[in-house]
């Protein structure tokens, strides 16, 4: 009995980690809307943001269902504060320049795609169905971000320098994605979510391959930030939420 309750709590936590990461990255990417360097990239960024927000509705919708306290995806997105968010630290990093945004996207996509492939094998069919759906979209995200990281890394002196600076800044935020805690371990053992350790080989191979092609150098320092998955965030997330949550908090009964 106790074990069943614990597993549901772990699943709620795991679903929030997925949904909060897609939500926060989706919102960050949407901040580019109308401001990207070229029109085509503006549209591409908006489309990627849209996919991520759509996936958020599915993950957080299921999280609310699993929790059983009548919270919807909207309630979870708009009525929780920073410490309740479970997103990866990488995705709350500010956009910086266009290259910085793309590097963040690539480092996330390279994890997101194999993560969804693992989730598609989940014993929980609800999780598997969402992962299969999202996986098809994320395959396109990964192709685009990898392609652009290569073009800009192996581009002009200016674009190369900017991509290297982005990589140097963002690299210490990547470790968290592949280090399981007790929640991740419980979900992996139950066959609901993949073993995060197992994603590292795929992620390493892909990232090394793309960055080498992009003529970029992976930083030597092994230091990695962590805490996002447990609700310990950088100062950036609160500022983002203040903007993102303003309307539903100021006008709680507003309808579309």
């Amino acid at each position: 009995m106790g074990a069943v309750v614990d597993l549901d709590a772990a699943l709620f936590e795991g679903l929030c980690r997925l949904g909060d990461s897609t939500l926060v990255l989706g919102h960050r990417v949407s901040e580019w809307c109308g401001q990207a360097p070229v029109l085509e990239e503006d549209i591409a960024l908006a489309n990627v943001a849209l996919d991520l927000i759509g996936q958020t509705q599915m993950w957080l919708g299921l999280a609310g269902e699993v929790e059983g306290r009548e919270r919807t995806s909207d309630t979870l997105a708009y009525h929780r504060d920073v410490w309740d968010f479970r997103n990866l630290l990488l995705v709350e990093r500010p956009n910086g320049d266009f290259g910085h945004t793309l590097m963040r996207q690539f480092l996330f996509d390279a994890w997101h795609q194999p993560m969804l492939a693992g989730l598609a094998q989940s014993r929980d069919t609800r999780v598997a169905e969402i992962a299969v759906k999202a996986g098809k979209e994320v395959a396109y995200h990964l192709e685009r971000s990898a392609d652009l990281v290569i073009r800009l890394g192996d581009g002009s002196g200016e674009s190369h320098a900017r991509m290297q600076a982005a990589l140097d800044t963002l690299w210490p935020y990547t470790g968290e994605m592949m280090v399981p805690d007790a929640t991740d371990a419980a979900l992996a053992e139950a066959g609901i979510m993949p073993d995060l350790n197992g994603l590292r080989t795929t992620w390493d191979a892909l990232v090394q391959d793309v960055l080498a092609e992009a003529t970029l150098t992976i930083p030597e320092s092994g230091f990695m930030h962590k805490g996002g998955k447990q609700g310990q965030h950088s100062e950036h997330l609160g500022h983002m939420l203040a903007t993102m949550q303003f309307l539903p908090r100021a006008y709680p009964d507003a309808t579309w």
Partner: protein, 168 residues
């Protein structure tokens, strides 16, 4: 009493809100029509998870059925199996082309297997014929176009930009 075959016929007249030359049934997103008591239950699958047209599509379907006199309509969402462009009918592909949108080239969707094929990423392995002049001398401008389901292309012969309905 209305039967499901009749409802399918009515649904075949409901246009997609963003690509009005094809219907919601030609797009392949209506997965099931069932009668439950006096209710008509229509099951729809989303194209892309965040596609804003999904809500509009549900609204249009409900409205069309009410206009035909069905008082009790219930909309249901189904995620699995996920929508694929393979479900676009041949007739729909011709209509897309005539409308100026290149139809999907089946079997060319992104697979996510990028490692090992990195060098080919920037290459143009996929040939998309221009829907206006038929030339295969075209180039991808951006992987994303005016809606989530499309990519932006340009014809290098007639120089016209066009949308490509990408394979998923």
């Amino acid at each position: 009493m209305v039967n499901t075959a009749q409802i399918w016929e009515w649904l075949a007249e409901v246009p997609d809100p963003e690509i009005p030359v094809i219907s919601v049934t030609e797009l392949g997103i209506v997965r099931d029509v069932a009668l439950e008591g006096d209710a008509v239950v229509v099951t729809v699958t989303p194209t892309y998870s965040g596609c804003p047209a999904t809500a509009a599509i549900n609204f249009e379907i409900e409205r069309a059925l009410r206009e035909k006199g069905v008082a009790n309509v219930r909309m249901q969402q189904r995620l699995s199996p996920p929508w694929t462009t393979d479900w676009l009918t041949d007739a729909a592909r011709d209509k897309l082309r005539a409308y100026g949108i290149a139809p999907p080239v089946d079997g060319t969707g992104a697979t996510g297997v990028v490692a090992g094929r990195v060098k080919r990423l920037t290459g143009a392995a996929l040939i998309v014929a221009c829907p206006r002049c038929g030339s295969e001398h075209t180039q991808k401008v951006s992987q994303h176009g005016s809606t989530p389901c499309k990519a932006a292309y340009q014809c290098r012969d007639c120089l016209e930009p066009f949308d490509y309905f990408k394979c998923i």
